[in-house]
């Protein structure tokens, strides 16, 4: 469980914190304020580390655990920052039967991170996604906006090398 939590140091700026506090001030008196606050906090920071959740806890009065419980319940929230290069491997049906699961596992091994995680240097993050509409190219992965198709596990080193 603990492996889903980021070990990358928090690098929030005072500007981001001001934005967050403004968002909290806007919603905190409303019932059910936690979801919009968390959604916008993630937009501001890209993820929801403990530092951000502690600010939300202190300002709203919700226990930190309750906030963490909501964050870990919904797939839309992330405890990890996105890397400079965001790798998404399609695990949709077509890609999966064409072996994208192996590609995903190979990336986990090569990058030394879990799915949803980010490398300690902040360079690569890895996540699984569902169909991106390129089934004809299955199996498919994307690195930021670049699409790579008809892959085998042997292609991975070359792809990663382009970004190193």
């Amino acid at each position: 469980m603990g492996s889903t939590i980021s070990s990358i140091p928090f690098a929030g700026t005072p500007e981001q914190e001001k934005q967050l506090r403004d968002v909290i001030a806007k919603y905190k008196s409303e019932k059910g304020c936690l979801m919009p606050i968390l959604q916008q906090a993630q937009e501001i920071y890209g993820y929801l580390p403990i530092e951000v959740q502690k600010i939300i806890a202190a300002e709203t009065g919700y226990p930190l655990e309750k906030i963490y419980g909501v964050v870990t319940f919904y797939a839309q929230f992330s405890l990890n920052p996105k890397g400079k290069y965001k790798i998404s491997v399609c695990l949709g049906t077509a890609c999966y039967v064409k072996g994208s699961g192996d590609i995903y596992n190979k990336l986990i091994e090569k990058l030394g991170i879990e799915g949803g995680g980010c490398t300690p240097d902040g360079k690569f993050s890895l996540e699984a996604c569902r169909c991106i509409g390129a089934c004809g190219l299955a199996p498919v992965l994307t690195v930021n906006d670049d699409v790579y198709g008809r892959l085998t596990v042997d292609d991975i080193d070359d792809i990663l090398a382009k970004y190193n």
Binding site: M1, G2, P63, L64, E65, K66, Y68, G69, F73
Partner: protein, 582 residues
């Protein structure tokens, strides 16, 4: 009141509007099993064990009886094959992810899941096998262990931590198969602002949350011939220990408890009541000093270590309001290792003080700073009422057959005022009995301060003591304490003296007390039943005021000189930490 008529298995029952099927069935003498449901604490209808078939004119449907309200003409069937099959299947599914180490499990004797599986005729606990997540145990807190492998996700612990205690350091995290109970960011409980109250342990139906068992340490100390091992028992222990040996709730087993402790092999069997009286002397004196010298008011009691930790985490700005008195358990240890050790010619390093407490936070308290008057910890080992029961059973003592025995002197002498420390309002009442004497010089006319008795979460009263108007308040359960303290902080109340106990109902309902299953907790008020045992003992006591305790008079004459003396401050008082939230 609108009455609604229903039939439970054909038997007519009439109950007020809003009554649940579960409650209505009880009126027809039918017991419906429940697992997640705890009255007023966890009413979420999640586990589906309590399903029954209900017909409201549209045919029979399976509904969760714990939260489903009755309606006019409803027909309820609690034992149809469909109901029983549903319960059995649910139990088997719960058992599929439950680590079934029943032989060694501390809850083996009173596991609610095990009993239910037995009652429901579950003949194959391994019917649904499959992948399971293996969880690491959390040993980080001073007082308890969390084992998610045994957790059945009923969420009783989460509810009591959030709603009753207002702490909320545990909750359900992630979702689906990965759902598990833990703290934010998977921190160990010891790294959070957990207050160690142990209410989660008291409500856990299985062995997923347990106190750290220190019984082996006790037996090792007793076996060590170089050690002089003494034991003290808190007032609330005698009101609940009997439950572990088949006595009805509310039976006071003081005499048998003392006899059993002697047979376990303690060199002296003493009573925390002695130190409760000592606490009253110091605390009443401190109150009088604060009132006359313009000290910080309201003064708040400091007997409950769960409450103290709560204050330090959640109201750090109010630690100045806390009485500087150590808790009775710590005062006992401090006095034993100074006054008594000196009197007996024993080196305090060779003395082991064991405390039997209704409390798990006491395990945290014994390791606090500034709790070592003789240069060694005031108290060495603190065990719960449950652990004492385990010790008695392990030592083969036939508890029910024992003849009553009396505590040893002098640290076993207590008064009625001390006995009621175990119930919410008891410390306040005991303090008032002595404060009246300290302030006016004469005894209180009526020493029964009944306004501060009872299980209500927050109680207020006002007394004229001499020329002084003393406004007091009593709260138990830390969510209630928070409500009270907010009033004080916002200037909405001007109390002189506040008593706060961390657990709802006070120590009688402490986190270290015998666990009562949901089938009892949902229909009886264990707080009131156990408290009655203490108030009855107080009423029957010859001496009911702390300042009249002959052993207390002696300890001041021979050692402490007077309440609040320099020596008393050195030995009997302590300091607090502003912890804040994690």
């Amino acid at each position: 009141m609108d009455m609604i008529n229903v039939k439970v298995n054909g038997v007519e029952v009439s109950a007020p509007k809003g009554t649940t099927i579960l409650q209505a069935a009880r009126l027809a003498n039918v017991d419906i099993p429940t697992l997640c449901y705890l009255k007023d604490i966890n009413e979420i209808g999640a586990c589906r064990i309590c399903v029954v078939e209900a017909d409201e004119g549209r045919g029979k449907r399976l509904v969760a009886s714990c939260v489903y309200p009755i309606s006019e003409g409803m027909q309820i069937f609690t034992n149809t094959p469909k109901v029983l099959e549903s319960r059995k299947k649910t139990l088997q599914l719960i058992l599929s992810t439950h680590e079934k180490k029943c032989t060694s499990c501390v809850r083996s004797e009173n596991c609610e899941l095990k009993k239910m599986a037995h009652d429901m005729g579950v003949d194959d606990e391994c019917k649904y096998e499959g992948e399971n997540i293996s969880y690491e145990l959390d040993f980080s807190a001073a007082h308890m262990i969390r084992d998610n492998n045994k957790c059945i996700l009923c969420r009783r612990c989460v509810a009591v931590c959030n709603a009753t205690q207002g702490v909320g350091v545990i909750g359900a995290n992630e979702r689906g198969f990965k759902t598990h109970i833990s703290s934010a960011f998977e921190l160990g409980l010891g790294e959070t602002s957990c207050i160690s109250c142990g209410q989660c342990i008291a409500v856990c139906p299985v062995g997923a949350i347990t106190e750290k068992d220190d019984t082996a340490k006790v037996l090792d100390a007793i076996a060590d011939e170089s050690k002089f091992v003494i034991v003290q028992t808190a007032p609330a222990v005698r009101a609940a220990l009997g439950e572990e040996f088949g006595y009805p709730m509310g039976t006071n087993v003081e005499g048998k408890m003392v006899a059993a402790l002697r047979r376990i092999g303690f060199d002296k069997v003493f009573d925390t009541d002695f130190a409760a009286d000592l606490t009253i002397m110091e605390e009443a004196n401190e109150l009088v000093e604060r009132v006359t010298n313009g000290g910080v008011l309201p003064m708040i009691t400091s007997c409950s270590p769960g409450w103290i930790k709560y204050c330090e985490h959640y109201f750090p700005e109010m630690t100045e309001n806390l009485s500087s008195c150590k808790s009775p358990m710590q005062m006992f240890g401090a006095t034993a290792k100074t006054y008594y050790a000196q009197k007996m010619g024993i080196d305090p390093k060779d003395m082991v003080v064991v405390a039997v407490m209704p409390c798990t936070a006491k395990k945290f308290e014994i390791g606090r700073d500034d709790e070592n008057a003789a240069g060694v910890p005031d108290v060495d080992i603190s065990i719960t009422t449950r652990e004492l029961a385990r010790l008695i059973k392990r030592c083969g003592i036939k508890f029910t057959e024992l003849a009553d025995e009396k505590f040893d002197e002098p640290l076993g002498i207590g008064t009625g005022a001390a006995v009621i420390f175990g119930a919410t309002g008891g410390v306040m009442e005991a303090a008032l009995r002595t404060a009246v004497k300290m302030i006016t010089g004469s005894e209180a006319g009526d020493i029964n301060f009944t306004d501060v008795r009872g299980v209500k979460g927050i109680k207020e009263a006002s007394y004229k003591v001499g020329d002084l108007d003393v406004k007091v308040a009593v709260a138990s359960g830390t969510a209630n304490a928070a409500e009270l303290l907010k009033k004080v902080k916002n200037g909405e109340a001007d109390y002189t003296f506040i008593e706060i106990m961390g657990c709802p109902g006070g120590c009688v309902n402490g986190g270290g007390q015998p666990q009562q299953p949901a089938s009892v907790r949902n229909f009886e008020d264990i707080r009131a039943i156990r408290a009655k045992a203490l108030y009855d003992q107080d009423a029957a006591c010859e001496i009911r005021r702390s300042h009249e305790n002959p052993a207390i008079k002696a300890v001041y004459d021979e050692f402490f000189e007077k309440p609040g003396s320099h020596k008393a401050h050195e030995i009997l008082h302590t300091s607090y930490v502003k912890r804040g939230l994690y």
